[in-house]
């Protein structure tokens, strides 16, 4: 029904116009210290219009799904495009794409629409029990499980008509341990784009135990020291390096703004061990979609191939500017936002080292585990937090210390990568670049050098 309404409305648009419909239904189950918070469910839905007139975009959105209102946002977006035109320096032109008519539903074994909610509640309660029972030092936990079911429609005045259903199931565990006036917390998550089968594949209880073990171990631990050290980044955090440190520099809008990679196409930017990919169709990836929010089919984009910079991530606009094909990286968080260039599933390809082989050559260094927030400037300077730093002495893992923020220039860090593990995994992430979005981050454990911002 909504498709018909949108199609009808687009007939009277001016310039090049897009309408996007988005309904996001969600269910959240949250258990705190064994007690269940209100079960939370609902839907947010709306439509946005984006119009390109004489090289100027205008954008408007609404949650009122009536014919008159959709007409109004189309008109509003056209008049915003016209009004802001004199103030814009650059005329936007778009790379051609064939308008697609298609329907896509993420492959699922257990569609969460048919979920037994009582059973899910019991599952979360069980994980909570398990976590709190892990050790006496654990004083508090929060276990969340979420289902986000997105229905997206994209229609353009060129004739594109795409409908996609993307389903994400994910959970996270936050554990706090206390002992003798000290406090430590740990955090882990699971999830993918799929049905509820993810709970069988990567049980929430497994990461619950990882977090519980970490919090109780770190409660009496000291903060890791400061300085430049040889480190192994655990496979669960390599994705942060791929995403924060490198990925953003390869987003064509930032490349256009003069990012580190701006003049590096075809040049060596990392150790030859490093192949870095942003894949729009990684099976189960948190950022996977068949078409991006400009109606462009997504693809697997090789950004760094054996150390050499090969490609950037593009929208239709930047693709034309750079004279390449759009890669399908234009994504919007909801109908309230216009699509901008975003990563999808970014990862560093696995190598052939076992974990013991990675550690054996390190005399004095750290095995860094558990990710926290990160950020990067487009000159490649990055930082992200780690939860745990296990000291490596003469090739052996020794004591666990509290993790610290690590930083450096991404490309220095990548040049120093001399070994990559064979334990490649894809994880879930949330990325904020003016608007947030789901992103897959992945990789295998790897060995390099980073600056650790710790205690003296």
């Amino acid at each position: 029904m909504i498709m018909g309404l949108l199609k009808e409305s687009l007939k009277k648009s001016s310039g090049y116009a897009e309408l996007r419909y988005h309904k996001r239904s969600s269910l959240t189950i949250s258990v705190k210290d064994g007690k269940i918070d209100a079960l939370n469910s609902g839907a947010v839905e709306g439509v946005c219009a984006r119009t390109l007139i004489d090289g100027s975009w205008g954008f408007a959105s609404t949650t009122l799904l009536e014919k008159g209102k959709i007409k109004k946002i189309l008109d509003d977006s056209a008049s915003l495009a016209k009004a802001s035109k004199p103030k814009k320096k650059r005329a936007v032109k778009l790379a051609d794409v064939k308008p697609v008519v298609d329907k896509y539903v993420v492959p699922m074994k257990i569609d969460p629409r048919k979920a037994d909610r009582e059973e899910l509640v019991r599952l979360v309660i069980d994980v909570d029990k398990d976590v709190r029972g892990f050790s006496k030092t654990i004083v508090s936990d929060t276990i969340n499980f979420n289902i986000v079911d997105d229905h997206l429609a994209f229609l353009s005045s060129d004739g594109a008509e795409i409908s996609q259903r993307l389903v994400r199931c994910y959970g996270n565990v936050m554990v706090v341990a206390r002992e003798k006036g000290n406090i430590a917390s740990a955090y882990e998550s699971i999830g993918e784009q799929s049905g509820l089968e993810v709970l069988k594949k990567t049980p929430l209880s497994d990461v619950g135990r990882t977090a519980a073990e970490r919090a109780s171990k770190l409660v009496s631990a000291k903060v890791a020291p400061a300085g430049l050290f040889p480190v192994i980044l655990e496979n669960r955090i390599t994705g942060l390096l791929a995403h924060e440190a490198v990925g953003h520099c390869a987003e064509a809008d930032l490349v256009y703004g003069g990012s580190f990679l701006a003049d590096k196409l075809g040049k060596k930017v990392a150790s030859e061990k490093v192949t870095l990919i942003d894949d729009g169709r990684f099976a189960g990836g948190f950022g996977t979609m068949k078409y991006d929010d400009e109606g462009v089919p997504t693809e697997k984009t090789v950004i760094i191939d054996k150390g050499v910079c090969r490609s950037f991530m593009h929208s239709r606009e930047t693709a034309l500017h750079f004279g390449v094909k759009p890669t399908g990286n234009a994504r919007a968080w909801t109908f309230e936002f216009d699509p901008i260039i975003r990563m999808r599933n970014t990862y560093i390809e696995g190598g052939d080292y076992a974990l013991e082989e990675l550690t054996e050559d390190i005399k004095d260094g750290f095995f860094l585990k558990g990710g926290l927030g990160g950020q990067a400037d487009f000159d490649g300077e990055f930082m992200f937090g780690t939860q745990e730093a296990v000291r490596i002495k003469n090739g052996r893992l020794t004591e666990s210390l509290r993790g610290v923020t690590i930083s450096g220039n991404a490309f220095e860090v990548l040049k120093n990568v001399d070994a990559i593990g064979k334990d490649m995994i894809m994880r879930i992430g949330m990325c904020g670049k003016e608007q947030v979005n789901f992103a897959g981050i992945g990789g295998a454990s790897l060995r390099t050098k980073v600056l650790m911002g710790g205690a003296k």
Binding site: D33, W57, V176, D377
Partner: protein, 448 residues
């Protein structure tokens, strides 16, 4: 229909569904936004959002459902959804009740400005351009990386089955610029500057542009400094982020009750330097977190948190207050109609000292000033580490030179005990903390 008519209607449906208690929270929000990217107007957006969130309690079991469509049929369906969620849940033994009616104080002045509410997209665009032009006017070496100017016009309404019924509207204008300076092929670090006010007449786009440009220029040609432990001046934004964020986490009664706060059991104890006094004031005139009631419809108030370094109180919503048989401090907060109420500060005010920033600088024999921080702060333990951006080296009471990216690390709970001085120039920050610059001692400064 007005928002309160929708919330009342929801309560009626909930009663029919056999709810013991019910609450409806409705919100309408119009956002007009201008986004600058790579020195260009990237986009203008007008967003209109409306929605309702409904909490139902049945036999101690809680259900919450929300919808972005406000119509009779959608509200009826949302109530049914909330009710069915309560049915499949498990009773929460800590649940006592939704808040009961309190007499609301007079609405703080200056929260809503009709002229601001009526601003067109073009007027917001003009503000962005004024800011942008000002930055370029300061010096041709200044380049704008990105920025965003947003006008929010919002209305919220709450009704609950204990007779609470409240409605209020507000406006908020906020904007920021991030820019850098370039000279001889070298770029400075990114400088960030912002303003946030309730009305357009208090908003200063020129100041944003001017200060952003000056900050960027002053960080050209940075030098490295050897690793040392010493004094650090945190400006308003970094003081809020590094020092106040762990405090905000630790005065949250939910965290206190759940053993997640290092302040648990320390009321009356000295937890910070005598120089530190913190008040949460939900009634601050023109305050960016002000309104006459919190997001459960409970009266806003002034709550003393830390007085001369002594811990005085925690912040409650009705759930944590009931659990302890005390009164809610009116700190229920929701990120939106689709979220359950949690606890947050309204306006957390750091009592200003008497010294201007220049005087703080003159007090530093060897140290740095940090104007941007990119790092991690552990809200529970207070540990922080990250990159000091837009930092300068201070020696013998004078700023000597800008610093190359330098890492800093420490612990917020130690740092607040080592406050040397709190400045006089208070600014609102994005965390709803009103803070002047703060000079602290014994921070690790690590050369890269």
């Amino acid at each position: 229909m007005s928002l309160n008519e929708f919330t009342r209607l929801a309560l009626k449906y909930c009663e029919k569904l056999g709810a013991d208690e019910a609450e409806a929270f409705a919100q309408s929000l119009q956002t007009t936004e201008v986004v600058l990217e790579r020195a260009e107007i990237q986009n203008e957006r007008v967003k209109i959002q409306r929605g309702i969130g409904i909490r139902i309690i049945k036999d101690g079991k809680l259900g919450f459902a929300f919808a972005s469509v406000l119509s009779k049929s959608s509200i009826e369906e949302t109530c049914r959804n909330a009710s069915s969620l309560a049915n499949v849940s498990i009773p929460n033994p800590d649940w006592v009740s939704l808040p009961t009616l309190t007499k609301l104080p007079k609405s703080p002045s200056g929260l809503y400005d009709e002229k601001t509410a009526q601003m067109s997209g073009n007027e917001v665009l003009n503000i962005a351009i004024q800011s942008y032009d000002q930055a370029r006017k300061v010096d041709k070496r200044v380049h704008i990386d990105d920025g965003k100017f947003s006008l929010f016009s919002t209305k919220i309404a709450i009704s609950n089955s204990h007779g609470i019924e409240a409605e209020e509207k507000a406006t908020l204008l906020q904007g920021y610029l991030i820019c850098m300076a370039k000279e001889h092929g070298k770029a400075s670090s990114m400088a960030f500057e912002y303003d946030v006010t309730r009305s357009e007449k208090d908003f200063s786009p020129e100041k944003i542009g001017k200060y952003a440009a000056e900050k960027a220029l002053s960080s050209l040609h940075p030098k490295a400094v050897k690793t040392f432990t010493g004094k650090v001046i945190l400006d308003s934004e970094t003081a809020a982020e590094i020092l106040m964020y762990p405090i905000i986490n630790s005065i949250n009664a939910d965290n206190v009750q759940r053993g997640r706060s290092l302040f648990a059991g320390k009321i009356g104890e000295q937890v910070a330097s005598e120089k530190l006094t913190l008040v949460d004031d939900g009634l601050l005139p023109k305050g960016i977190g002000s309104s006459s009631f919190d997001m459960e419809g409970v009266s806003h108030q002034k709550t003393s948190v830390i007085k001369n370094g002594k811990l005085e109180g925690f912040l409650h919503n009705s759930f944590t207050a009931n659990k302890e048989k005390t009164k809610s401090t009116g700190n229920a907060h929701r990120e939106g109609y689709n979220m359950l109420p949690l606890i947050s500060v309204s306006n957390l005010i750091v009592k200003a000292g008497k010294k201007k920033l220049d005087n703080l600088i003159s007090q530093v024999d060897k140290g740095i000033i940090v104007r941007r921080f990119s790092g991690n702060i552990r809200p529970d333990s207070g540990e922080f580490s990250g990159i000091a951006k837009q930092a300068s080296y201070i020696e013998d009471g004078e700023i000597k030179y800008p610093l190359k990216e330098t890492m800093i690390s420490g612990n917020a709970f130690y740092a607040i005990k080592n406050i040397i001085e709190i400045g006089s120039e208070t600014r609102p920050t994005m965390l709803r903390v009103y803070s002047p610059p703060i000079l602290v001692d014994k921070i690790n400064i690590l050369s890269k």
